[in-house]
C-alpha cells in the first residue's frame, strides 16, 4: 500500500478501509496477520461497561463449537474488541524464530482464536438459603451505580443481571500488581507537600509576572492567539477609491458657487423693510377677533398670562387663610 493511501486511511469510506486493511493483511506472514476484523481506534472498547466481562470472569459460550461450555476469560484483545478464553478453538500458526517464546521449539504453534464478548454470557455463583451454591448465566448485564474498587484502584460500575437487578455479579479480582524499584509507595504519592496559608494572599512574590507559558522565541504566533488588525493590514485590505471625472468636479464647483451665492443672513435694511410692512398691515386691521389672535401669538401674551395666574393664586391663598382664621375663631367659641 502506498503512502498516499495509508496517510488518509481513517478518512476513507468503510469499504475502502476494509479493502486496504485486507490487502495489508495478505501481504503479511500469517503470524503477523490481525485476526478478525480491524476496529478503528475510536470504536475500540475502553471501559468495562463496553466489555461487560473482564479478565478472570467465568463465561458460558452461546455460539460456536464450545456452545454450552463454561470457560474463563484470559485476556482482552482491544484492537478487535474480542476476548481470549481458556477453552477457545485454536488454529495452527507459523511463528518466525524471532518471535519464539522461551519454551518453544517448533515453528508451528496452536494459537487461540478470540471470541466476541457478545457470544458469551457471564456466569455468577449464587448461594441458596441452605448453603448450597449454584451457577447462573446472565442473559444480559446492566450497570447501575458506581463504587471505588481497591484492587482496580478506580471507580467501577456495579454489574447487575438485567431484569434481576438485585443480583450483583462482582468483577473478578485482578492479579495484584507487583512493585518494582521505580514504584512510588501510595503513602508517598498521597502525602500533601504544600498547604495554602490564606486564600486572600498569594505566596508568590508580588513582582512575579509571567506573560505566557509558551516558548517566547517561537517563530510563528500561536494560531489561537487573538490578533488585532494593524495599520498595514488595513492598507492591504482597502481598495483605492475611484477619482471623480472632470464633469463631476465641474458639478461640485458649480454647486459650491451656488451655495456661496445664496444669502443666508438677512441684512438690517431688509429686516427693517419687512418689519415696517408687517407693522403697517397689522395696524390697519379692524377685526376684533383677529386682534385677539394677534395678541395671543405675540410675545406679550405669555407674560400677561403668567402674571394673571400669579394674581389668581395669591387671591386663592388669601381666601384660604381667611377661611382658616374663621374656622379657628368658631372652634374657640364653641370650646368656651
Amino acid at each position: 500500500m502506498s503512502k498516499r493511501y495509508t496517510g488518509v486511511l481513517e478518512r476513507l469510506p468503510q469499504h475502502f478501509r476494509d479493502f486496504f486493511m485486507r490487502r495489508a493483511d495478505q501481504s503479511q506472514i500469517p503470524a503477523f496477520r490481525s485476526q478478525g476484523k480491524y476496529i478503528p481506534e475510536e470504536k475500540r472498547y475502553t471501559r468495562p461497561e463496553q466489555w461487560k466481562v473482564l479478565e478472570g470472569d467465568r463465561v458460558m459460550f452461546v455460539k460456536g463449537p464450545n456452545k454450552g461450555k463454561i470457560g474463563k476469560v484470559l485476556g482482552l484483545q482491544p484492537f478487535t474488541n474480542s476476548i481470549y478464553t481458556d477453552i477457545a478453538e485454536t488454529e495452527p500458526l507459523a511463528v518466525p524464530r524471532q518471535l519464539w517464546q522461551e519454551d518453544q521449539n517448533e515453528y508451528l504453534i496452536d494459537y487461540p482464536k478470540t471470541v466476541s464478548p457478545d457470544d458469551v454470557r457471564v456466569v455468577a455463583t449464587l448461594v441458596r438459603e441452605d448453603g448450597t451454591e449454584y451457577d447462573i448465566a446472565a442473559e444480559d448485564v446492566i450497570f447501575k451505580g458506581k463504587y471505588f474498587d481497591e484492587d482496580y484502584k478506580k471507580m467501577m460500575p456495579i454489574r447487575r443481571v438485567k431484569y434481576h437487578e438485585h443480583i450483583i455479579i462482582p468483577w473478578p479480582r485482578p492479579d495484584p500488581a507487583e512493585d518494582c524499584v521505580f514504584s512510588t509507595p501510595p503513602e508517598v504519592a498521597e502525602e500533601r507537600s504544600h498547604v495554602e496559608n490564606s486564600i486572600l494572599q498569594f505566596e508568590q512574590p508580588a513582582d512575579f509576572t509571567i506573560q505566557s507559558l509558551r516558548d517566547p522565541i517561537m517563530k510563528r504566533p500561536y494560531k489561537w492567539d487573538k490578533q488585532v488588525l494593524k495599520k498595514g493590514d488595513i492598507t492591504k485590505l482597502t481598495a483605492p477609491g475611484i477619482p471623480y471625472s472632470e464633469t463631476k468636479k465641474a458639478m461640485f464647483e458649480e454647486r459650491r458657487q451656488i451655495r456661496e451665492s445664496q444669502i443666508t443672513e438677512m441684512s438690517a435694511e431688509v429686516m427693517e423693510f419687512i418689519g415696517s410692512r408687517v407693522a403697517e398691515h397689522l395696524n390697519n386691521v379692524t377685526d376684533p377677533n383677529f386682534k385677539q389672535y394677534v395678541d395671543k401669538v405675540s410675545g406679550q401674551y405669555r407674560k400677561q398670562k403668567l402674571a394673571r395666574r400669579e394674581k389668581e393664586k395669591q387671591l386663592l391663598d388669601l381666601q384660604i387663610k381667611e377661611a382658616e382664621k374663621r374656622n379657628k375663631r368658631v372652634t374657640r367659641a364653641s370650646a368656651q
Binding site: 490578533q227 488585532v228 493590514d233 482597502t238 483605492p240 471625472s245 472632470e246
Partner: protein, 260 residues
C-alpha cells in the same frame, strides 16, 4: 417585480409618467448579489477567516460585481450585452434551442490619456457608442448611471486607469514654483519665499531636497535608528515655513539652496 416599475418602487420619480419600454434595464448587471462589505478599523479583532492579501488591491471594486454568467463579459467592453437563449422555430413550428451571442470584435483603440493603443474585446454596439462619444476616454469617463452599468469590471478598471492618468497629467501641469531672475539676471525657480535666521529668503529647491538636508541632523538628535520613511511621513505635508523653522533650530547651512 415588473422591471418598468423598479424605479417607482425605489422611490425614484420617473422623468416621464409613461414608462420607457425601450430603455435597457441591465437586469443581469443590477441583479447580481454582492458580498456584504465589512469595514475594518485599526485595532479591530482580526477574524480567523480573514486573509490579509500580500498587496493592496490595485483597482477599486466594480460597484455591481463580476458577472457569474457569460464570464467573457468580465474581460471586455460588452455594453451590458449577454448571451441570450431562445428557440429556432421552423415553418412547422418545431422549436429547437439556440443561442444568440453579442457581436464581439477584437480591437485596439487609442487612448488619449494613457497615450497608447489599448487592446480590447468589445461588441460592435459599444464600438459604435465609442465613435459617437468621440473616443475611448470619453466613453469610459462618462458619469451616467447606465454607463457605469455598461462598463463591467474590465471597463471599470480601464476607467480608473484613464481617470488616474488624467489626474496625473493635470497635476504635472500645475507648477509648484515660479520662475524669477536673480541679481545677475539668471532664471531661477523659486519654490517658497519665507524667512531664515530673521532674513527674507527664497528657496530654490523643493520639499524633497530640503528634507534631505534636514534628515541627517534630525537623525543625529533622535535616539534610536530613525529611518527616512518615518522621518518623511511626519513632514511630507508640513508647510515650508515650519520646515525652515526646524532647519533654523538645528542651524543647518542652507547657503546653497536659498537666495536672498
Amino acid at each position: 417585480m415588473i422591471l418598468a416599475l423598479r424605479d417607482v418602487v425605489r422611490g425614484v420619480r420617473a422623468f416621464s409618467s409613461t414608462t420607457s419600454t425601450m430603455g435597457r434595464n441591465y437586469r443581469h448587471v443590477v441583479d447580481r448579489q454582492l458580498k456584504k462589505k465589512v469595514e475594518y478599523k485599526v485595532g479591530d479583532l482580526k477574524p480567523r477567516s480573514l486573509r490579509i492579501p500580500a498587496e493592496a488591491p490595485k483597482y477599486p471594486p466594480y460597484p455591481y460585481g463580476e458577472s457569474r454568467i457569460f464570464k467573457r463579459s468580465n474581460r471586455g467592453l460588452f455594453g451590458g450585452q449577454f448571451i441570450v437563449f431562445g428557440n429556432k422555430v421552423s415553418e412547422h413550428k418545431n422549436r429547437a434551442r439556440r443561442t444568440w451571442l453579442p457581436n464581439v470584435v477584437n480591437k485596439k483603440l487609442w487612448s488619449e490619456s494613457l497615450n497608447k493603443m489599448v487592446p480590447l474585446k468589445l461588441t460592435a454596439r459599444v464600438l459604435r457608442t465609442i465613435t459617437k462619444e468621440g473616443g475611448l476616454d470619453n466613453y469610459l469617463t462618462k458619469d451616467k448611471r447606465a454607463r457605469i452599468k455598461e462598463l463591467g469590471p474590465f471597463g471599470w478598471r480601464l476607467r480608473y486607469d484613464v481617470l488616474k492618468a488624467q489626474e496625473r497629467a493635470k497635476k504635472a501641469n500645475v507648477k509648484n514654483y515660479e520662475v524669477l531672475s536673480d541679481i545677475e539676471g539668471n532664471e531661477i525657480k523659486v519654490f517658497f519665499k519665507g524667512t531664515y535666521n530673521g532674513e527674507p529668503v527664497s528657496l530654490v529647491v523643493g520639499r524633497r531636497k530640503l528634507l534631505q538636508k534636514l534628515y541627517p541632523v534630525v537623525k543625529l538628535h533622535t535616539p534610536g535608528n530613525l529611518r527616512f520613511a518615518a522621518f518623511n511621513n511626519r513632514r511630507k505635508s508640513a508647510p515650508f515655513d515650519e520646515l525652515l523653522k526646524e532647519l533654523e533650530h538645528y542651524k543647518v547651512d542652507l547657503s546653497d539652496v536659498i537666495v536672498k
